[in-house]
Symmetry: C2
Subunit: 141 residues, 2 copies
């Protein structure tokens, strides 16, 4: 069941990334009322997006048929496909990603997938996108 507090936790993860000089994107996976994994992007491995890391962590303990993912940015095609493979039930994301997203933008990958999660975009959208905007503006200056 949707709770804002889980997106706030994903935002906390994004802020941890920012502190480490990483792109501020965070994710958590929730199963019932249990947070089963949380992570943020790591830049020295192109597969280490927050979503992939939470799926890998979560799968070490359980399957994800009833699980929900909260992530601060619309997943890219790699992560969206992994979310489908992991059979995550619901996906809540913050900011839309017209350039790199693969859910509501670009390849819209779920149309090619066997398992399609319920998708809710734009959750705490401004907060999530401001983190990214600030990060990239500071990189440029």
């Amino acid at each position: 069941m949707f709770k804002y507090q889980y997106m706030e936790l994903a935002i906390e993860q994004a802020k941890l990334a920012q502190k480490d000089g990483e792109v501020p994107i965070g994710a958590v996976i929730v199963n019932g009322n249990n947070i089963i994994s949380s992570a943020h992007n790591i830049s020295n491995d192109p597969t280490a997006h927050a979503e992939m890391l939470t799926i890998r962590q979560a799968f070490s303990t359980s399957t994800l048929y009833e699980a929900e993912m909260y992530v601060t940015l619309e997943p890219c095609p790699m992560c969206a496909q992994a979310i489908s493979f992991a059979k995550i039930k619901r996906l809540y994301f913050g900011a839309y990603n017209p350039k790199g997203g693969g859910v509501e933008n670009g390849t819209r990958i779920f149309q090619f997938c066997n398992h399609i999660p319920e998708v809710y975009g734009g959750i705490l959208e401004t907060k999530c996108s401001l983190l990214l905007k600030d990060f990239f503006e500071k990189l440029r200056t």
Copy 2:
């Protein structure tokens, strides 16, 4: 530079997977004349496709701008996107995958990517696909 021996090594990885009861798909990444990583699918983690594992291994030591990947099956969209993120120069794959592939089938993901590797499909195709056919036939009996 293309060499059959590298696809043979990917096939050896696929055979190792089969021995472990895993789906027989193998991959290697080569940089110049150096094999920098090799892996096969692992079933208890939906992100642990052979391609993802070789990229993760390889990135711990180097970037992949000049690297070539050999994989026994056409990559799925998740792996194809990761191959693009990793900036792998050339992709050689064995069997085509009309149902789950994302390179020459389905979403054809490279059309949405910034970095597009050179792609050569059908390398030792029969050998690669027979391994998979045998595996799934045995599962059914």
